[in-house]
């Protein structure tokens, strides 16, 4: 095993990991915001809005992420939308994961018993106040858990950015694999970085989940 290669690869991939991290962070923020908007739109009283958003979620989930990225990045200029590869990645990954996240958030809201809404409405609380005081506190932890699962999927999905030339972990790892003829070592180092990011994010999410969990005595 070539120790020098391992040292250099570790350093080189470390820089690429920062790119993966930045891409993940950007997509995650966009994704969570968009997912929230989708959930609100799906609760709308206008059928047309609900149908439109349902169609959006269906298309995002029914077509490959890579194709979505190519449509935006390569096809975008044709419709007057020229984005840098990084921006195209953040937009595609964010809007894609938002579709999945919105399903999780919606599921969490629907998991709260219908009687809770009825009880709150009976007391005289409005729709928004019911959501805010009674439904969200009961499903926040579940929401965060499902966001966390999707965030991990997102991290791994950002590898697709390498196909449009952004120097992220996967792009760098592939380049060294071709040139160094030590694919296993290179993969091992890249994998370690990925798992470090996954681990870090999972920890943060778990802390957040615990922060919003109901007290033990409140659970049946």
């Amino acid at each position: 095993m070539d120790l020098d290669l391992i040292m250099r690869t570790t350093q080189f991939l470390g820089e690429a990991a920062l790119m993966t991290l930045a891409l993940t962070a950007g997509s995650l923020v966009l994704g969570i915001l968009a997912a929230g908007a989708i959930v609100v739109a799906r609760l709308s009283r206008w059928t047309a809005v609900r149908a439109l958003v349902a169609a959006y979620v269906s298309v995002m989930r029914g077509t490959p992420l890579l194709v979505q990225l190519f449509v935006l990045y390569f096809g975008g200029p044709q419709i007057g939308l020229t984005l840098s590869p990084f921006a195209a990645g953040v937009v595609t990954f964010g809007l894609n994961i938002a579709a999945y996240m919105s399903e999780g958030l919606r599921g969490a809201i629907l998991s709260v018993d219908k009687g809770q809404t009825e009880a709150a409405r009976t007391l005289g609380f409005g729709r928004l106040a019911t959501m805010f005081h009674f439904i969200l506190p009961q499903c926040a932890a579940l929401m965060i858990r499902s966001l966390g699962v999707n965030a991990v999927i997102l991290i791994k999905g950002t590898a697709l950015i390498s196909t449009i030339g952004v120097v992220d972990l996967t792009y760098s790892a592939q380049r060294i694999m071709t040139s160094s003829s030590q694919p296993f070592e290179v993969f091992g180092i890249a994998a370690a970085y990925y798992m470090l990011i996954v681990f870090g994010l999972t920890r943060i999410m778990r802390l957040a989940e615990r922060r919003f969990a109901l007290p033990d005595e409140a659970r049946a």
Partner: protein
Amino acid sequence: MMTPMVELKGLRKVFGRLEVLRGIDMSVDKGQILSLIGPSGSGKSTLLRSVNLLETPTGGEVWLDGTRVNADLKGLAYERHVNGLRREMQMVFQQFNLFPHLTVMQNLTIGPMKLLGLSKAEAEARGEELLCKVGLAEKALAYPARLSGGQKQRVAIARALAMRPKVMLFDEVTSALDPELVDEVNAVMKDLAAEHITMLIVTHEMRFAAEVTDWAVFMDEGMVVEEGPPDRLFSDPEHPRTRSFLRKHLGA
């Protein structure tokens, strides 16, 4: 003539092709305690839920103390109107529907604080008084998950009372309870009856209805078949459908 506390005029409710309420007229005076009885699927729960608009009536009118409940408003104005009126008529559910993320005391104070503008101290004073009344003062800091079904339902009644409503609606409040827990809930309701709070009670417990209420309404297939003072209705029903229903339920 006194304005009725609750008045229904030609109330109709249709679910798809199913007509659950077929034109109900009913009037409940202030302080009156009325029981709604009838076989399951007769529409009695839907009627109760239409009074506070958990179900939106398909047709007809609902009045509360001289105000039209299902007013002809749209959007936000309707929301505000309904939210305001609902505060004045509280419902107790078969499944309790206590808020599991709040303590017993918080369940009682959240409505008065957020909706009636009471201070925390005022709301808690009111809450304590009501918890004493239902015999659960020592459970103020417990979460609902730690209570028995009977205790949960007593808290639910206290939560509703904390809003100081004009009318209390009870929707089969003892149906989900183990038999040995029914009495403690019935006792609380009897106390309320003695205070002459206006109550509409959907129940299948004929004995309780006979003992506590002063007017009984028998419903079947979405219509009022027969009504009267419970003594008279239970001992000498006029309609054959009432008779066969009572035979099944009082025979035991």
